[in-house]
């Protein structure tokens, strides 16, 4: 047997199944355990095909010693004993039911309900009615049964109408239903039947007594159904609210009652609370952003202040250069950004401290020019506007300090593209501290005079600097 036949997949009802016509197709094959397969399939189908199993139990139980298990499914089905129903023919039938029916050629159509037809006496005398009538008629025939039946029926209908007028028709049988019809009203309504008043009176009294004993109409059509929540299994035919939707017991749990209303109110409360929470959450996040922005600007200020101090220190240490206080105080220049830091790097007046660097192209430029240049650049580029003013900026980028580089034994890359520009050293590359503290030297684009591989935001037009230095 192949491995696959052990674990058939659940059957997909949309899948086209081959129909195998010959049993030989199977017998050539190794015999599959069809029983096992079908059991698995049953499980997969989630269906309760256990009936046969139960029938077997039943069988054993009743027959005492179990007969040998039936080999074929055919026998299996015949096994439960189902008795022949018992009935006899009623000898009065042909007399009681007249041969007066003729089928029309067309299909029969329903007529209105009996209640709507009006003249049909729906009430049938019961045992106690008959016994009472027999008593009434003992001496002489006072009232024939069909008249009595008709009287009781009319009393029931009149009483029902009286209750309708009084607006006391209850939809369900919750409490005893009182009699509203009065004797005089009944006699007046029944005048047309031309029955003696005494008879009507005694029938009325009999009816009223019975009616009060039953505590409900004696005509079944007029009896209200039991209340929906009545669980007595003897009370049947409960009404169902919202008829065409809730017609299973499971769905009844969702009917329009006080519980459902409370549940819906609870749902509403929960949703309102969720809304409040969300609104508060939004407020909190906005506050967080404000805090963040405040921190960023605080850091900017701190940085600016720090750089200013550094520059001040530098200039103090290098008396040959004029102090750069103006430079530091410029607001735009220190909008902290990598490119600002970069562009400033070359301007560091550190050459004197560090002869090897001095020889390189990392040479400072006259400060006056630089400041002018930077200012011009900012203005002309308007690059500030490209940035999201709300975007917090990472503040780890710092300019390279040449003396520190030298102290660490790091030499900038050699300049291999020296040109004929006379006095002004060209910016062959620029150094900076990148993310994570790496030292980065950006190659210099000789045409654009910008660092290569820098984004657009680093774009520096070629114009200002060469012009300045020429």
């Amino acid at each position: 047997m192949s491995r696959l036949s052990f674990r058939p997949r659940p059957l997909d009802i949309h899948k086209k199944l081959p129909i195998v016509k010959s049993v030989k197709d199977f017998e050539d094959d190794d015999v599959p355990s069809s029983t096992r397969n079908s059991q698995l399939l049953r499980l997969a189908a989630g269906d309760s095909s256990e009936n046969e199993v139960h029938h077997h139990h039943h069988h054993h139980h009743h027959q005492g010693p179990a007969p040998a298990p039936t080999p074929t499914p055919t026998n299996k089905k015949a096994s439960p004993e189902i008795p022949t129903p018992q009935f006899v023919v009623v000898d009065t039938y042909e007399r009681d039911y007249s041969r007066t029916f003729a089928q029309p050629t067309s299909y029969l159509r329903a007529r209105g309900a009996r209640a709507e037809l009006g003249d049909f006496v729906e009430y049938d005398l019961d045992n106690e009615d008959e016994d009472w009538l027999q008593d009434l008629n003992r001496d002489r025939k006072v009232l024939p049964p069909d008249k009595f039946e008709s009287l009781l029926f009319k009393l029931e209908v009149l009483d029902h109408k009286a209750r309708e007028r009084a607006g006391v028709i209850t939809p369900t049988l919750g409490s005893p239903i009182p009699v509203l019809l009065q004797l005089d009203a009944a006699t007046e309504a029944l005048l047309a039947l031309s029955i003696r008043y005494a008879v009507i009176q005694s029938v009325y009294n009999y009816w009223k007594e019975k009616r009060e004993r039953w505590q409900k109409p004696i005509l079944r059509r007029l009896q209200p159904p039991p209340p929906v929540n009545d669980t007595n299994p003897y009370n049947v035919f409960r009404p169902r609210e919202k008829a065409h939707r809730l017609h299973t017991r499971r769905m009844q749990r969702r009917e329009n009652n006080v519980q459902s209303f409370e549940k819906l109110r609870q749902v509403r409360r929960n949703l309102d609370q969720a809304k409040t929470i969300l609104e508060t959450l939004i407020k909190r996040e906005e506050k967080k952003r404000e805090v963040m922005e405040t921190e960023v600007s605080l850091q900017r200020i701190q940085m600016k202040y720090k750089h200013e101090t550094e520059l001040l220190e530098d200039s103090l240490a290098l008396p040959g250069f004029p102090p750069l206080s103006k430079f530091g105080s410029s607001e735009e220049e220190f909008m902290d950004s990598d490119d600002v830091a970069n562009s400033r790097l070359g301007t560091r007046p550190s050459a004197i401290h560090n002869p090897p660097l001095q020889e390189s192209n990392l040479v400072f430029i006259p400060t006056g020019n630089m400041k002018q240049e930077l200012k011009g650049r900012h203005v002309s580029q308007g690059w500030l506007h490209k940035m999201d003013p709300l975007e917090p900026v990472l503040l780890f980028t710092r300019p390279l300090v040449p003396e520190k580089l030298a102290a660490a034994g790091i030499a900038p890359p050699p300049d291999c593209s020296t040109k004929d520009e006379v006095s002004t050293p060209a910016y062959k590359f620029r150094g900076r501290i990148g993310r994570g503290g790496r030292l980065i030297f950006d190659r210099w684009n000789p045409l654009l005079h910008t660092p290569i591989d820098c984004g657009n935001s680093f774009y520096i037009p070629p114009k200002p600097r060469p012009a300045t230095y020429n």
């Binding site: 192949s2 059957l11 009802i13 949309h14 086209k16 199944l17 129909i19 195998v20 016509k21 199977f26 094959d29 599959p32 069809s34 397969n37 079908s38 399939l41 189908a45 989630g46 269906d47 095909s49 009936n51 139960h54 029938h55 139990h57 039943h58 139980h61 009743h62 027959q63 499914p73 089905k77 439960p80 004993e81 022949t84 129903p85 018992q86 006899v88 009623v90 039938y93 009681d96 039911y97 041969r99 029916f101 089928q103 029969l108 159509r109 329903a110 007529r111 009996r114 049938d124 005398l125 008959e130 049964p145 069909d146 079944r220 159904p225 049947v236 035919f237 409960r238 169902r240 065409h244």
Partner: protein, 442 residues
């Protein structure tokens, strides 16, 4: 007289077991204790004493009881009640024949019971021990709870509740048209009918009465000769009527009361407004006589196309049940829906449905060429896919081969199954069905 001592004879056995008044057969109060005509031995006196002390029998007693076949069968006393005119110990007993379905439970007179066979007061624990030798507790419980076969789908609790409320059949016999029929189960008739063992039904409007004279008087005035609905099918003498439970509430309720006498697990919990009743009739010059019916929810969320189905006992085994099932599927086809019967199915119901599904599906498989999916079979037949799957699987026609499911449709095998399923009996002639699906009015 003295029926305890009387050995069972075939003649006695066939005596009435219906709840007919038996006042003329024996003097009331003298149930089987008249002095024997012949010699009175000490033993028999002793025996009688013993019997006197065990009477009345307790509920739960196991004893042998003479059944309609004249033979004695083991029964368990379910309930007892005093006879109206009897003495202190004059009871009749409601017994369950342990070999048979609950539908055969009945009231019996003391004389039908063989008091010699009374088992000592039933000790449930002892019984447990005996049976537990062979079965696990689970198996035993299952048997106890499902001694009514066909209701395995109910859980134990609801089954117990059901049996407690319905353990005693209230109405033993009904008269309906031409037939006097023994009932099978309890039916929750209104309390005013509690004191009656027999009810007389008008066979057209299904009103029920306690006395024959009442029925006869009713028949003189009853203006119905057929069910109070639209005729939607007619073929020969067979007609089908559709009755709206909302328009004919009392009729629908009457039908439910009647049907419950023959259906163990029918519920009369909810009103009939939301159901349509399809009444199958045989028609002659006296009118259209109901032979069976099925009910159907006007709107079923669970895609039920049938709620209850019944063929009245005198008409059973004639193919009407199969006709009703087939008819319910024809309605579903006209609606363009698939359908399935509401569960649980009774034993008879399951048998009929299995037969119908087998016939319909195997007829298709015999003729069909090429591959076919369960969904396609469902679309063709309006049978729900799950029912198709169970049917084919129980016949072991779906097998798993070389990594895929195949349908085994060997003609010989199919014919064998078809034969076992029986023929369909009366065919539904779809051309004679004049019907539009129910639409809510207004």
């Amino acid at each position: 007289m003295g029926s305890i001592e009387t050995p069972p004879s075939a003649e006695n056995g066939s005596a009435t077991h219906t709840a007919m008044p038996e006042g003329d057969q024996k003097p009331s109060g003298g149930v089987g204790f008249a002095p024997p005509v012949n010699e009175v031995t000490m033993e028999s006196e002793m025996l009688k004493k013993r019997k006197m002390t065990m009477l009345p029998l307790e509920v739960g007693t196991r004893v042998m009881c003479r059944w309609r076949d004249g033979k004695y069968h083991p029964v368990k006393v379910i309930e007892r009640r005093k006879l109206n005119l009897g003495g202190v110990n004059d009871y009749e007993y409601y017994v369950h024949y342990t070999e048979f379905n609950r539908r055969l439970d009945e009231w019996v007179k003391l004389e039908q019971l063989d008091l010699d066979s009374v088992e000592a007061v039933v000790d449930e624990k002892v019984e447990d021990k005996v049976t537990s030798l062979k079965m696990t507790r689970h198996q035993k419980r299952k048997i106890d709870e499902t001694h009514v076969e066909g209701h395995e789908e109910l859980d134990a609790a609801s089954l117990r509740e059901h049996e407690e409320f319905t353990k005693v059949k209230n109405i033993a016999t009904i008269e309906l048209g031409r037939y006097e029929i023994e009932t099978w189960y309890f039916s929750p008739f209104p309390p005013e009918y509690n004191d009656s063992l027999k009810l007389y039904f008008c066979e057209f409007c299904l009103n029920f009465m306690k006395r024959k004279e009442q029925l006869q008087r009713h028949m003189r005035k009853c203006d119905l000769k057929h069910p109070p609905g639209d005729e939607i099918y007619r073929s020969g003498t067979l007609s089908m009527f559709e009755v709206d439970g909302k328009k004919n509430k009392v009729y629908g309720q009457n039908l439910c009361y009647l049907a419950k006498l023959f259906l163990d697990h029918k519920t009369l919990y909810y009103d009939v407004d939301l159901f349509l009743f399809y009444i199958l009739c045989e028609c002659d010059d006296r009118g259209c006589h109901m032979v069976g019916y099925f009910s159907k929810e006007k709107h079923s969320e669970e895609s039920y196309n049938l709620a209850c189905i019944l063929t009245l006992p005198p008409y059973q085994r004639k193919g009407y049940g199969k006709f009703l099932i087939a008819f319910s599927y024809e309605l579903s086809k006209k609606e363009g829906k698939v359908g399935t019967p509401e569960r649980p199915l009774s034993d008879l119901g399951l048998l009929s449905y299995r037969g119908y599904w087998t016939r319909v599906l195997l007829d298709i498989l015999k003729k069909h060429k090429g591959n076919i999916s369960i969904k396609e079979l469902s679309d063709m037949t309006a049978i729900k896919a799950e029912d198709i799957l169970t049917t084919l699987q129980s016949l072991e026609l779906i097998q798993y081969r070389k990594g895929q499911h195949v349908i085994c449709a060997d003609p010989k095998v199919l014919d064998r199954h078809l034969k076992a399923a029986g023929r369909g009996g009366l065919e539904v002639d779809v051309s004679k069905l004049i019907w539009t699906p129910y639409k809510e009015q207004g």
